[in-house]
């Protein structure tokens, strides 16, 4: 996950898949800065 170290991340999660906050938790531990995180409903 070193590829995310020091990077800025824009996260769009899926309500019926993996929601934004869950992705954000993972991305944070990989060292990225989250500049935007949202969960969307695609149906």
């Amino acid at each position: 996950m070193a590829i995310l170290e020091g990077k800025k991340a824009i996260i769009i999660g899926d309500r019926d898949g993996v929601p934004g906050p869950a992705i954000a938790e993972c991305v944070k531990t990989a060292g990225a800065e989250i500049v935007f995180s949202s969960t969307e409903c695609f149906v």
Partner: protein, 512 residues
Amino acid sequence: MNSVIKGASYVLVHTPDMVYYNGTTQTTEMIVNPESEYLKEVKSNLRSYEDAVKYWPNQTYIGNVHPEELAGVEFPWYDKKKEDADRYGKYGEIMPEEEFLFLVQACDQFEVVRLDKDFVAEYKDKFAADPIIGEDIVAMIHEGVELSEIEHFVNEEHAEGLYFNDKLVGCVKRAHDIDVNLSAHVMHENLMSKASSVLALLYAVRNAGIDKAEVEYVIDCAEEACGDMNQRGGGNFAKAAAEIAGLVNATGSDARGFCAAPTHAVIEAAALVKSGAYKTVVVTSGGCTAKLGMNGKDHVKKGLPILEDCLGGFAVVISENDGVSPEIDLNVLGRHTVGTGSAPQNVIGSLVADPLDRVGMKITDIDKFSPEMQNPDITKPAGAGDVPLANYKMIGALAVKRGELDRKELANFTTEKGLTGWAPTQGHIPSGVPYIGPACEDIKEGKIKNAMIIGKGSLFLGRMTNLFDGVSFLIHGNTAAEEEAAAGVSEEEVKGLIAKAMKDFAATLMAE
């Protein structure tokens, strides 16, 4: 004793003109890109009524095709026609747009709906010929007005046009000069929701085999809001629709929770009946004009007809235990709580595994799961994938994680415990509830013993919280006889014993 599901209805209304004039994908495009190629192509990509009736998922929704039969039809479905399709099904019907506009007028209590007199003359009898439409509703239709009057309201008074075959045939006027909550746009949206809910109520009462007067409470679970500038979501769609449907003994209220609302509402209804507060409660909802053609851009881009051309509606009748009908088990309720979190395993755990754990059941003990039942013919070309399948994979994965299912069985799990989606993408309409009708039949026929209904809602869309929501409940076969047997002697038997003792005593006295 648990309350039971006495009957369910599922209705569609084919509204191709509303796709263009009222669906938000199209109306947004009219604002931001009025000369777009997409807008030019919308009308030529709309389906005829006949094609909408012959569409396999629509026939499944109204009950002419079992979901398992649909799963056997080669995918995709948009280019295949069910040849012996019927407008009417055991759960409801697919009402054409020209007839629906009359039902909308019947639902209008404030004279905001105007219909062209030539249109009324041509189609009123066709509407009246629908067997579910009673004389009481036909009597609510007004005489038509001159087209010039309608044109005046649309061009000069901010009215929303009502169209049929792309021709102006009526309008919905604003109900207030400055209150945006009573604008023509809002009135149009709310009247369409109310009218499709009325249609669902009429079929639900018929399908349950009850008298209209037996309904004591109605819960509306749509996603619209009616009110005015001082109480924007005041309500109450439920009682408003019950009035038109002739449910004279009913009061009611609205339950809201985005797409999760139907499942919340069914749980509330089951609890109201089980508590003894009301004997018969109906959960109902009409459809949503805003979502018409929601994925239209992707459909047109890929050469598909615009498949989101129908309003959906449904209703479920819940009543006291009759000893026969399938039960809603309030001991098995899943809920995504504030503290659950958003990790997929937590979400599915809270909705599926936790409620089963509480009663000592396993995920594999459930015969069918009904989560989001969106029709993949609509969602896959739009890039949203197969939503029911995604849910089944997560439920199956959790079963594997819990050691209840062998990893090799995961693929079988999605077909054995799952269903192929068939419901229109009308938000709350596909959320869990489309399978209630077929589930009750499957349980009564012994094909399955239980089914879990799961509703999820995107609360974050309202910008009041980042959370989403979900609840679930279990339907199983009727256990009244078992409960009575377990209780020892039934009430009827006690009455019989007392009557016999009294008779014997009387006989003794006579003899003396």
